[in-house]
Symmetry: C4
């Protein structure tokens, strides 16, 4: 299977996830400032999830760019990633509606953790397919950012039960850490060209 | 009509179905463990349906790959398949919310049964178009897996009224049976290349 | 603008409309036969709307196939068509939930009528662009089926206030009339090839 | 990154936004004229938002057409635009359901204002990438329509607290101002061809 089909399907799914999240916004009951203010945590969680999904779209795109072809293992690793991402709208809505409780913050973290693990699994499934001398292997290198994200999410899930604001802060931290697109792969692509 | 358009449309519809299923998750009323636990059957049904739809996407993709062109009959056979798949989010939500009742398990089975029948009809509509000496004919062979799925679904629908856990077990069985992508077609494609 | 972009956008919108309709299904309160039976009118309306949208997708595809390029007028005529189609899920849900009332049947008819008119406008906007000697002009001919649909929808809207079952029967009639894809254009395309 | 991927993703997101808006329509409780009439403000807001999103799709398409390649800055500027557009269904539903209140009209205006600013930022991010001698620079020129839109939205947000009908009138005005696709870029493209 050429990577283009998998990329188009993944792009489609991520585009839908990022867009339907807005449907989880519960319509405010009134039309006054008080009703609007009550949406603040929902809005902030929405911003965070939007950023997260945009980052995944971007990194996934870079990843596919250095992948030549796709076998069954890679295909299912990709579906596994999409599965966890597909639950982000649920996690966002639950966290947004219950920002002062521990469990929704932990569940949101579990979703991000599982998505990060699924991404790691996907990268390694592709690496097995492409071989150790591949462009991707050189680009990924030691993958410090990927491993650090997984560690931070795991810590955030546990700390949610101490104080959920710590978890929220950690999620924001990881998002900003990734906002810069994966320069490693970009640099490698440019190096290949010259 | 070239197969590419039909494939793009089908891919789009399946991507949307697989993604909007999350909107059927009813938001838990509380933010405690009890509320989360109550989601377990919804979650498990979600996992099963996600796998089913991913399998359909995958097999549909392989099917289109060995199809050269598409006439009116194939087009409507494909729409018929998408129709039954489009009802999966409804079946998932009803089953997830009523996992200890017989009827939702049976209805879920009817949707899967009709989708499997529709797939079988689609394959044969394409075969009529492509001819008995086609790549697809060789790839499909006696189509034991397809026929077995239809039989198992039919049995599961009936047995739901005896004990709905039997049906659930059968649905999971069929899913795992298909998780391996259609090697027959894959093998045939590879054989053609060499 | 090349037609491919407009076609991809229209395909995407129709794929989303056809798929999100399922979200308008209200989850039955119980899990028994009575609850399921109560869904029958919703289901039948769903089937009809699914067929209608599939027909639009199919005909729209054929239409774009004989169109060479797209100007501003055609673009907005297309958006106008998508606008009315985008309201079909609402009309479907209202009709499905109130099948024994006149007004929802009439409103459903108004949506179909406006979509049919919008399609007619779109065809003529393209014809103005392509010229009277174009492939499309020859294919469309006197467009009896298109004009008849508009007339039947208009009649159905009025007759809904006499008896809504007459309207429902007329909607089904038009759907079956179009189920056969637009042979005129197909024949023309084939004639061009030979 | 080639512009084609960014365009496909943006097209997909806008197609989904424009289509899921219908899900925010609250089903009328009755099936009589009174229930239907109560939907009038929702319908009119829907029409306005549909037009706005169609205009963005159209202009975005023209913009991408004169853009050769896309770096990280442009990519995030584009995501920023999609973020504000993704909130339009929420703003539409809140305004439609509360058309006689000031705040929903102001919030709707803030969303349109932020989207217009995000579009301006996107255009300038591309310009920095393409250079002052680019086709886009010539096409955009002094961008009077873009700046005027931003000014009118800002005024409308403030005036919503005086009388929300003034804001509504201003939103409609801007929509009609843009209904004509961006002739400047179109003219430039045609000039390039000859």
């Amino acid at each position: 299977m050429p990577t283009s089909r998998l990329e188009a399907f993944s792009d489609g799914v991520i585009a839908i996830i990022i867009t339907i999240m807005v449907l989880e916004f519960e319509m405010p009951e009134g039309a006054d400032w008080h009703s609007l203010q009550a949406l603040t945590p929902v809005f902030l969680t929405y911003v965070l999830s939007f950023m997260m999904l945009a980052i995944y779209w971007n990194n996934h795109h870079h990843l596919m760019h250095v992948t030549r072809s796709v076998g069954g293992g890679v295909l299912w690793a990709n579906m596994h990633l999409l599965f966890w991402l597909s639950l982000v709208p649920f996690g966002t809505a639950w966290l947004g509606g219950n920002h002062s409780a521990a469990l929704p913050a932990a569940v949101y973290g579990v979703l991000l953790l599982m998505a990060a693990v699924a991404y790691w699994v996907l990268v390694h499934a592709i690496l097995r397919h492409e071989g150790p001398a591949s462009k991707l292997q050189k680009a990924v290198g030691r993958d410090i950012k990927g491993k650090l994200s997984i560690a931070l999410y795991a810590v955030a899930v546990v700390l949610a039960f101490v104080n959920q604001w710590i978890s929220d802060a950690l999620y924001v931290t990881v998002a900003f850490m990734w906002l810069v697109p994966d320069r490693r792969i970009e640099r490698r692509i440019e190096a290949e060209r010259t």
